[in-house]
């Protein structure tokens, strides 16, 4: 049996956990790090096996290692706090309750990659979280943990909290960079990768909030400690965000490799009197799963082998009252709205998907429409300029795969066979 491992969430139930005192902290890990050889920190993070918590799971230490050294250019650290993938809701409560874990991680990371400037790019629609992070950064400045000659060393670091303005695509790392430079947030062609030419065309590391916030615990407790949790290739802990038709939705911090069955058990199961119908393992951009996937270990490899992606561990649970076509249509409307418009397959494809799905959901479609949406999906998947396009197709392909009959049912009866009132929180049978 897997048990929970609160590290980042550990102080959330204490008053003032968001203050330096509440963090219990004098930033001992950052203090220690600034006395170390930067390469030794990168090595420790490599050894820990930490992989990016923003969705793609790229090894964090390896990413840091790509930053050229002694190149005479400024280096930058950019924290991706744009958290906008539907279902994903871990970084926001983390920054609300424990922003100092992020700020301390920023110091260690910036030092390791020899950056004297760090930016925390937070989505704009989370006012109180922005206040909390700005206050934590201020406190760290006041203590001399950020600024010039931090911890009495010769190392200088400036940290800027930057707010976005409502654009899901700005979570894509190169779009984020354009946005941070004051442009429309549209992805850049890779290569060059940000490690070579990122912010202001200088070497840049971009990491997710949770990735960075995990770093102080690695420096404090050692790479082996971190690698002792999780599975062979997916080390450590992560926050699993459970939402939807469950008894106790919420944030469950566990080693990677825990199963949905285990998390659901801890959360009191699917809401009383109902059964699991479908779920996302890592947000709307990861292909949906069904009850047959309850025992898939939630790590990068096993979820991938089962046909989806671990993504951001955003476990959105839908019970049998839910119309899958309705859920897919709404996600598709989201993708059509958020497509940045830079490339044709995604811009046009998401628009047409939305049109056809609307008709299908209203019961006015035909079996041919299933072929049409699959076809449009195939023309987006792998053919778009950035990973947004692939994500937009995930709900389409996976829902057709598992719930073809439900699409057909809509056409058969000329409407939606479900009563939306039954799916609501207050509509419990």
């Amino acid at each position: 049996m897997t048990t929970l491992t609160p590290v980042l969430t550990k102080n959330w139930d204490t008053q003032g956990s968001f203050t330096l005192d509440g963090y219990g902290g004098d930033y001992a890990a950052a203090r220690k790090a600034v006395g170390m050889d930067p390469d030794a920190i990168i090595q420790a993070v490599k050894d820990s096996g930490l992989r990016g918590r923003g969705g793609a799971g790229f090894p964090t230490g390896m990413k840091w290692g790509f930053i050229p050294q002694n190149d005479g250019k400024p280096h930058y650290l950019v924290v991706n706090a744009d958290e906008s993938e539907p279902g994903t809701c871990k970084d926001i409560p983390l920054m609300m309750a424990n922003p100092h874990s992020l700020v301390e991680g920023v110091i260690i990371t910036a030092y390791a990659i020899r950056a004297n400037y760090a930016f925390i790019y937070i989505r704009g629609e989370v006012l109180h979280v922005i206040r909390r992070v700005m206050a934590a950064v201020r406190e760290a400045y006041d203590k001399g943990f950020i600024g010039s000659g931090i911890f009495g060393s010769g190392y200088d670091l400036e940290v800027v909290v930057h707010t976005g303005a409502g654009a899901y695509i700005c979570g894509e790392e190169t779009a984020l960079l354009d946005s941070l430079e004051g442009y429309r947030g549209q992805p850049r062609l890779k290569p060059p990768f940000p490690a070579i030419a990122g912010l202001y065309a200088a070497p840049t590391v971009i990491n997710n909030v949770e990735s960075i916030a995990s770093v102080p615990s690695i420096v404090a407790n050692g790479a082996d400690w971190f690698a002792g949790m999780g599975t062979e290739k997916s080390k450590g802990f992560g926050i699993f965000s459970l939402s939807g038709h469950v008894t106790r939705p919420g944030q469950y911090e566990a080693p990677l490799g825990i199963t949905l069955r285990e998390v659901l058990d801890m959360a009191g199961g699917v809401r009383a009197g109902h059964q699991l119908k479908f779920w996302t393992p890592g947000g709307s951009s990861t292909p949906i799963f069904t009850a047959e996937h309850l025992d898939v270990p939630l790590d990068f490899e096993a979820v991938g082998a089962a046909g989806s992606m671990l993504g951001t561990r955003a476990l959105q649970i839908f019970d049998e009252t839910t119309c899958v076509v309705r859920a897919v249509l709404r996600w598709t409307e989201f993708y059509a709205h958020e497509s940045c418009g830079k490339c044709t397959p995604c811009r046009e494809g998401t628009f047409w998907l939305k049109q056809v799905l609307k008709r299908m959901e209203a019961g006015q479609g035909t079996e041919d429409d299933i072929a049409t949406i699959t076809d449009i999906g195939d023309n987006i998947l792998g053919k778009s300029f950035c990973a947004f396009g692939d994500g937009a197709v995930s709900p389409i392909h996976s829902s057709v795969k598992y719930f073809r009959d439900e699409y057909l049912k809509h056409f058969e009866i000329g409407g939606c066979p479900f009563d939306p009132a039954k799916s609501t929180v207050w509509g419990v049978a």
């Binding site: 279902g87 409560p93 609300m96 930057h162 004051g182 939402s243 939807g244 989201f334």
Partner: protein, 215 residues
């Protein structure tokens, strides 16, 4: 029309301070547009002209950017800008019904004539474990129902005090909120809980069972 000299001077002082935080001035464009909204409640023509001038870029460039981002409004927001999450999970958990009942109740899906409340269908706001979710001036109002939603907007229109579920005791106005987004703290970070409800469920289970991360 341009800003009156005293307004212009105040905005310019703020803008210069914001610009100075960045290695390159243009990086300050998004914060400056939030600053404009803190003055005008939307990205006004004057405001965009002002940004262009301060950053030494053309107004067309500013407009090209401001139109890309949904938070930058082309029409003035109400004093209280109300968002209802209608992304799949919230919609299914009741957000669609909330939106329908709320807009019917207010007789509009845009803004009330008294200028108090403006409405917007918003996408996932990273609070799905609190579904159905609403936001007012980008503060969380979690676990809503059609009844609580209607009560909330009635209270806002009546000038009654309302508090976000995870935020400061007093809800600030749209313009005040925009100023924080521009990077100017309002001193309220210490108010409100560390975490509540769903945010603590996992931790509660761990505590009850004596589960910890390895030493």
């Amino acid at each position: 029309m341009t800003y009156a000299p005293e307004i212009r001077a105040r905005l310019e002082a703020d803008a210069k301070e914001i610009i100075s935080r960045y290695p390159k001035p243009r990086s300050a464009l998004l914060p400056l547009l939030h600053l404009v909204q803190s003055e005008d409640g939307y990205v006004s023509d004057d405001g965009q002209e002002f940004c262009a001038e301060l950053l030494g870029i053309s107004k067309a460039e500013v407009v090209g950017v401001s139109t890309f981002y949904t938070m930058f409004r082309r029409k003035p927001a109400g004093e209280f800008h109300v968002g209802v999450c209608i992304n799949s999970l919230c919609a299914i958990m009741g957000g669609d019904q909330i939106w329908d009942e709320l807009t019917e109740h207010l007789g509009t899906d845009e803004a009330t004539p008294d200028g108090k409340v403006s409405l917007e269908r918003i996408e996932c706001n990273a609070a799905c474990d609190f579904a159905p979710v609403m936001l007012v001036n980008w503060e969380f109002f979690d676990n809503q129902t059609p009844t609580s939603a209607k009560q909330l907007v009635d209270d806002l229109r009546d000038g009654k005090a309302v508090s976000p579920t995870r935020g400061p005791a007093r809800l600030c106005t749209f313009k005040e909120a925009s100023r924080v987004l521009a990077g100017m703290p309002d001193g309220l970070a210490g108010e409100g809980p560390s975490a509540v409800g769903p945010s603590l469920e996992g931790l509660k289970v761990a505590r009850k069972n004596g589960w910890e991360a390895p030493k």
